[in-house]
Symmetry: C2
Subunit: 163 residues, 2 copies
Amino acid sequence: MDAYTCIRTKRDTRVYQDRPIPEQSLQRILQAGRMAGSAKNLQLCRFVVLQDTPKKNELATCGQFAQHTPSAPLVVAIVLPQDGREFDAGRCAQNMMLAAWAEGITSCPVTMHDGDCALRVLGIPQGHRVSIVLAFGYPPPSAPGPKGTPRIPLEELVHWGGW
Amino acid sequence: MDAYTCIRTKRDTRVYQDRPIPEQSLQRILQAGRMAGSAKNLQLCRFVVLQDTPKKNELATCGQFAQHTPSAPLVVAIVLPQDGREFDAGRCAQNMMLAAWAEGITSCPVTMHDGDCALRVLGIPQGHRVSIVLAFGYPPPSAPGPKGTPRIPLEELVHWGGW
């Protein structure tokens, strides 16, 4: 898939097929996260990969809208040190989700509303936080075609030469 | 360029050719930002586009490492409401920078250390902040080939099944 098409058509799903993520796709998703730029090239994002159902079930109790997470064959938590930038985690997450979409894999970012719960479940040491959890999987065959959720028109988003 | 290659090879530059960004590339960059997902699909990011040299010069005084910004033919500020998520701005910025890279255009995120200065220069109303400024341009012909800055090995970044 060409890059612009991938960016333009990427969509999120919260329902996944019971079908594992191939090793090559997993490697690409992780490499995409690794290659994301970061402020001063500090590279503070770390990834915790979950593929094990009991652990995914536990993690799902830490977010208010995380019920679907265990059904995803691949779950990746992006972890930052306390003073790490959420902006960089966003860049990293987007890279991973786009690399997944290029492989036909959809994804969904899941907020961990109970941050301490997520740290405990994942065994993450003090001084860190879970920025986001990404759920990855193949969309069900019945899923609608590749289109994004409605977006605000460009005319409303863009200010030319100043606000 | 295919999506994974784009993600894997994308690089930042702070030096640009004196060559304008074609209209189609500009549209793609903005559309890429528009299509980025956001928490609850709130779509809080707004873009201020600068192509005018005096305004770019003014904006360059608002960041400690923004000296190169005026040499970029295209400058886009990503603006959030005060309570908007930096994570979403990161997703948006990454989409824009990847769409640019697919067109052979490099980019660089520039922090506005003096946030009030950036708001004033861009005429942005109270209750917002400039999350980041992105500089876009064609890299000089002498620039090194498409490779990223060194990255931490995957083995060090990834924790399997828990930290």
